[in-house]
């Protein structure tokens, strides 16, 4: 790949929620802005913009990552999942999203997209989490509404339902 000039736009392509997408970006463009402005995927929220708050967390190549600490050019060729890719079909929520609704695990919702993406990754690799490890894991996200109790309850509930679903399958 040749050196990309600072002043020019460059074509960036990656897989987003299972479909190839492409748009142009300068090398300095953050992935958060690329998703929101260039691809019109505004479900990924921008909070602190320096990696502390967790609001912009998405999945890059199977692991949770801060979109604000990633350049769009770095994501070229990657496999990315955002909040828009969680629901299995229009009008239907994922098991985790449904659990968040049942447990009132959000109020303003600003942090929610990042937390859902983080937990989706975590529950896939750790189907039987305990409360202490979940609390440690969610230390990477700030929520100023809920006090986290309902988020933990929703995550534990979702984990149990996902285990049951896998047992039946």
């Amino acid at each position: 790949m040749p050196r990309m000039s600072a002043d020019a736009n460059h074509r960036i392509r990656f897989k987003l929620n299972g479909r190839m997408v492409e748009a142009d970006a300068e090398p300095r463009m953050l992935l958060t802005d690329f998703l929101r402005y260039n691809l019109a995927m505004t479900g990924t929220h921008v909070g602190c913009e320096h990696g502390v708050c967790g609001a912009c967390t998405i999945e890059i190549d199977g692991v949770p990552a801060r979109a604000c600490l990633t350049l769009a050019v770095q994501a070229d060729g990657a496999d990315i999942r955002t909040i828009e890719g969680l629901a299995p079909a229009p009008g239907r929520l994922s098991v985790l999203q449904e659990a968040f609704r049942r447990h009132h695990a959000l109020q303003c919702g600003f942090c929610t997209a990042g937390i859902l993406l983080s937990l989706e990754c975590y529950l896939r690799d750790n189907p039987s989490p305990d409360e202490a490890t979940l609390r440690d894991y969610l230390g990477g996200h700030l929520c100023r509404c809920t006090g986290y109790v309902t988020i933990i309850a929703a995550a534990l509930d979702a984990a149990e339902r996902l285990r049951d679903a896998n047992k039946d399958a």
Binding site: M1, R3, M4, S5, A6, D7, H10, E26, P27, R28, L30, D33, E49, H50, G51, G54, T57, I60, V63, P64, A65, R66, C68, L69, T70, L71, V73, Q74, D76, S118, Y122, D136, Y137, G139, G140, H141
Partner: protein, 275 residues
């Protein structure tokens, strides 16, 4: 917060990365996981002319170990080292410290060598390398060299790396027979920058204690086998020597007190682990 303009080069070979570093000098910065560098760019504390992305060089993404040392390449992400099945057996101090490095959501992208290159005064990985007497492997177009951790960290976010060099790997010694290791940290929130972090290595002749988060770069002391008030006095002296400062997060006297308390706890645990 948006970064200033820079060129981006995804290095296809190590030689390409070296050539760009040689040509651009201090105007070039190596980009690995980006977890320290990208915020620096966004805050415009760093304004390089070109970023050299080294994450597509498979030869750098390796953890290699023999009975004596672990070599961690520049492309190895923190989560990968933490998930390495041999880490607890090979080097318990690294295994104990890694969960304190950022959050799971940043360890997934951040690299071991990137943290070493950034050299934040409160960073855990430089601290552990100093406690273990680890080393940093640097390379440029001209030559390769190995710098011990004690010589590498020269001040706040400054290191012995030359402008035309990149960190190819860091090296940590494996667990030694009869050695005990312990790590302690205090921060406001797990995953935040440490207010004080301690790494202790106990061995037959005494104990080695490294402290991060207080001075401009991690500091280390070697003690004979002190106990009781002699140990308290030594820790008190170390705490005062670190030149702690007040800031938004903690007062200088609180930091000194943490050095005394966490230092003692780390030393005692390291000694228990020897047994």
């Amino acid at each position: 917060m948006k970064p200033a303009r820079f060129d981006y080069l995804r290095a296809g070979t190590l030689a390409e990365a070296h050539a760009t570093l040689a040509a651009e000098g201090e105007d070039a910065r190596v980009l690995a996981g980006g977890q320290s560098l990208v915020p620096m760019l966004s805050m415009r504390m760093a304004r390089p002319k070109v970023l050299i992305d080294i994450m597509h060089l498979p030869q750098l993404a390796k953890i290699e170990s023999d009975v004596n040392t672990i070599h961690i390449g520049a492309g190895v992400r923190q989560a990968k080292l933490l998930a390495w099945p041999e880490i607890h057996e090979r080097q318990p101090l690294l295994a104990a410290a890694l969960p304190w490095v950022g959050h799971a959501q940043t360890r997934s992208r951040g690299t071991i060598c990137g943290s070493v290159a950034h050299a934040d005064p409160s960073a855990e990985i430089p601290l552990v390398l100093l406690a273990l007497k680890g080393a940093i492997h640097l390379s440029s177009r001209q030559k390769q060299r190995r710098v011990s951790a004690i010589d590498f960290f020269t001040g706040m976010m400054s290191t012995a790396r030359n402008d035309d060099e990149l960190i190819e790997a860091v090296e940590a010694p494996c667990r030694a027979p009869g050695h005990g290791y312990a790590f302690r940290e205090f921060g406001r929130r797990h995953g935040d920058f440490a207010i004080v972090a301690c790494a202790a290595v106990a061995h037959a002749d005494g104990v080695r204690l490294a402290i991060g988060g207080v001075a401009d770069c991690p500091a280390v002391r070697d003690y004979p086998d002190l106990t009781g008030t002699a140990l308290d006095d030594a820790l008190d002296e170390f705490a005062w020597e670190l030149d702690a400062r007040d800031d938004l997060h903690a007062t200088e006297s609180f930091r000194r007190n943490l050095v005394r308390q966490l230092g003692r706890a780390a030393i005692e645990e390291a000694r228990r682990c020897r047994a």
